[in-house]
């Protein structure tokens, strides 16, 4: 977009067009000379080019560094943009500053008073988007971020992909200077692109490039609405630097559209009835939930449905769907005995009912079914409404018997009523009996879990079960929220901490892009801070090293959290891949001087995470290798966090 001239009388675009015409005119030779030249050309001169080189005037107008713009009078366009943003109650704006959005940045902090949204300084665009990701999973409200249109958006892209896969709304606004004739040359031009949104189009729900302030108002409200309609997802807006920077035209009065939330899509009535019929008549129905519950009400609804059917529930953990203290909670193997499986917002239905073992001949894995051939499958999944082609997050295709492209939480009330109506009177006693068996199985499983946790209890480095229970001892009386366990190769908190509220567990990154945990934990802790909750983050070492600058953001903006390092000194997800291939090829894995195959260890030297955190304003302690020292250190750290500061303990742990 061309910038308008700051003085309304003559637009800059018109001035330049005029200059170009003048230049062209100047370039033309006088008629007599022209005639002579034509005569000469017809005789001897080679054919002339169809376009003449520009005159000095034109060349300067097109290529020289523009003069400093006159001071802007009138209402800046970016002030109006702030007015639009403020109608949507966006509380924070995590961002790394950049010239391509300097005008709206200035408007946000000066005209907008740096409130709603408040600018949070980030050290990396990926951190900014991941903070918004974590924030939403606690607050249920989206944040926006601003980033440099090319380099910033490229930094942000991994976090945008995580948000896409995890069905989380984030409003990503990229500054871009489209007008090649007027943008500053050099770096700002390198940082401009025709279509910055193309970078993330494969994994955003929608994007736009507004060309006027009225267009911006429509785009921004539309972007918010689309992001917040299930299936949620990130959206992108390319924001032209000229449009931000120029004043509104005299008399220009753009309106701000009113935001009205879209109702989440519910399952078709007929499909709901058929699903209810199958479930009500099943001998052993099993419910599998991944991102089914996004609120306390979602958890309550799922408990109601499970108890109505006395159906076992497998929680795959995309969200906290079902309390782990409930006797109907079962491990993933429970699908094996099911005759009906109800899948709610599953990332991967195929892998829910099939197994893949990476241990076949010639490097090809082994596929086996986990379920009986006659098992009926029901799916309620809003993601079916939003499938794109390039990135393969849609997983393998799984045929199901009843498929509802609908939001699970919104469909549950209708499904519960339909199940109540469908349960035959003579089935009620059998259903109750299922519950008795589930209570017994649950109690036995709890015993086994606790005994398993006792193994290596006094080991050094510290066992992951011991670490989990030492943490629990310090937070159990608080209103706690486990904000991240990203990259953590154990599940003791899920097995041993009583998780009953939707904010007790927030799920993983979605796209499994390493580096999500630290920034998402800070975003979630920010939301918890405002709600008066205590945030705990079990922080893996490899994850933190992607962009540790977010530690500074947490300290700078006084976002308290207890971060306990799961410091196993390696990329253990990858260790076994190299070991596996070495075995397949009958070669001894080369460890170099490390404990894991070369390239998979984070040691020699060991990273002193406590010093890293301390340098960025955190209270920190470590390394803690003796399990007896962990409890007292945690007690100290918890007191610090309660005082409003972030605290980190560097704990050396067992590998998993």
């Amino acid at each position: 977009m061309a910038r308008k001239h700051p003085r309304p009388e003559v637009s800059r675009r018109k001035f330049l067009a005029g200059a170009a015409v003048a230049g062209a005119t100047t370039a033309l030779a006088p008629p007599a000379a022209k005639a002579a030249a034509a005569t000469d050309a017809s005789i001897t001169a080679p054919r002339r080019p169809s376009a003449l080189p520009p005159t000095m005037q034109v060349a300067i107008a097109e290529t020289a560094t523009p003069k400093e713009l006159p001071r802007i009078g009138g209402v800046p366009g970016s002030d109006f943009m702030v007015d639009v943003i403020k109608t949507l109650d966006i509380k924070y704006l995590p961002s790394n500053p950049a010239s391509s959005f300097r005008a709206i940045h200035e408007s946000l902090i000066n005209y907008g008073g740096n409130k709603m949204p408040e600018f949070l300084t980030c050290a990396h665009e990926e951190s900014a988007v991941a903070m918004a990701h974590g924030y939403f999973k606690v607050a249920g409200k989206p944040l926006m971020t601003l980033c440099h249109g090319t380099v910033g958006l490229q930094h942000a892209a991994m976090a945008v992909y995580n948000a896409w896969c995890d069905r989380v709304p984030v409003i990503v606004v990229g500054g871009n200077d489209l007008d090649a004739a007027h943008r500053p040359p050099g770096v700002p031009t390198i940082h401009s692109a025709q279509d910055i949104n193309a970078l993330v189009r494969d994994f955003t729900k929608w994007d736009d490039t507004p060309v006027s302030l009225q267009h911006f108002a429509q785009s921004f409200v539309r972007a918010y609405k689309i992001a917040m309609t299930p299936p949620y997802g990130p959206v992108a807006i390319s924001l032209d630097a000229g449009l931000q920077q120029e004043p509104m035209r005299n008399g220009e009065k753009p309106y701000i559209p009113r935001y009205v939330p879209t109702s989440p899509p519910q399952g078709d009535t007929g499909a709901v009835k058929e699903a209810a019929r199958l479930l009500a008549n099943a001998q052993n129905p099993v419910i599998v939930a991944d991102r089914a519950a996004r609120s306390e009400n979602g958890v309550r609804l799922l408990v109601e449905l499970a108890e109505l059917l006395q159906a076992q529930v497998i929680d795959q953990g995309g969200r906290m769907n079902f309390p782990n203290t409930h006797y109907l909670r079962r491990p993933p193997t429970a699908v094996g005995n099911a005759d009906v499986v109800l899948g709610l917002e599953l990332t991967d239905f195929w892998a829910t009912v099939n197994a893949y073992i990476d241990n076949g001949e010639h490097g090809v894995g082994i596929n086996t079914s986990r379920i009986k051939p006659e098992t009926k499958l029901i799916s309620i999944n809003a993601s079916e409404l939003l499938t794109k082609a390039n990135y393969q997050d849609f997983q393998r295709f799984q045929s199901v018997d009843v498929s509802m492209p609908a939001d699970a939480e919104a469909t549950l009330p209708a499904l519960i009523e339909a199940v109540k109506a469908a349960i035959p009177a003579d089935r009620k006693a059998a259903i109750e009996k299922r519950g008795d068996a589930a209570r017994k199985a649950y109690a036995e499983q709890r015993e086994r879990t606790k005994q398993a946790a006792a193994l290596a209890w006094d080991a050094s480095p510290i066992s992951t079960a011991r670490m989990s229970m030492e943490i629990w001892a310090q937070i159990k009386d608080l209103d706690w929220s486990l904000v991240s366990v990203s990259g953590v190769g154990f599940n003791w908190p899920n097995r041993l901490w009583p998780m009953e509220k939707h904010y007790h567990w927030l799920g993983a990154s979605g796209g499994y892009g390493v580096g999500y945990g630290a920034p998402a934990s800070v975003g979630a802790a920010l939301a918890n801070r405002d709600l008066g909750r205590f945030s705990v983050n079990i922080q893996s070492d490899g994850d933190l090293m992607y962009a540790p600058g977010v530690l500074w953001t947490a300290a700078r903006h006084k976002i308290p959290q207890l971060a306990v390092m799961f410091n196993n000194r390696g990329y253990h997800q990858e260790v076994m891949h190299v070991q596996r291939l070495s075995n397949f090829r009958n070669r001894v894995a080369n460890l170099g001087n490390d404990m894991g195959p070369i390239g998979t260890s984070i040691e020699n030297p060991d990273i002193e995470y406590h010093k890293l955190a301390e340098s960025m304003g955190w209270w920190a302690k470590g390394p803690i290798k003796d399990p007896a020292q962990l409890g007292p250190a945690l007690k100290e750290a918890v007191a610090v966090v309660k005082s409003g500061q972030p605290a980190l303990l560097n704990v050396w742990t067992q590998p998993r």
């Binding site: 241990n359 946790a453 894991g596 590998p655």
Partner: protein, 115 residues
């Protein structure tokens, strides 16, 4: 390692031969080193306690014959280890090490597991 498959006759024979040979005395001390060098700890933990990625191996490891057969032929989540990369002597030492790992305390005696 979970023994959920039937073993091939050759592998089982190899395991039996290893278990009954008695040509050398397995060393728990060497076994601890071999357990680390061959990467067992990566999935099963440094005290063979098991975890999300691999079951516990100790205390009470499975008999050496079954242990050997599984290690040599598994097509479960764990990749097989041939004799070329994990010699029989090392395997026997590892098993000897696993046998020395004591039973854990009853969880009921651990206050943190009874909160």
């Amino acid at each position: 390692m979970r023994l959920v498959r039937s073993f091939g006759p050759a592998a089982l024979a190899a395991g039996l031969a290893l278990g009954c040979g008695g040509a050398f005395a397995a060393s728990a001390e060497k076994g601890k080193t071999a357990y680390t060098q061959h990467g067992c700890w990566q999935c099963h933990g440094m005290q063979a306690q098991g975890g999300l990625t691999g079951p516990k191996l100790a205390p009470d490891p499975i008999p050496i014959e079954a242990f050997t057969a599984f290690v040599r032929t598994t097509n479960r989540a764990m990749p097989p280890y041939s004799e070329a990369i994990l010699p029989n002597d090392d395997l026997a030492d590892i098993h000897a090490y696993l046998q020395t790992i004591p039973k854990p305390a009853d969880y009921k005696s651990i206050p943190l597991l009874n909160q």
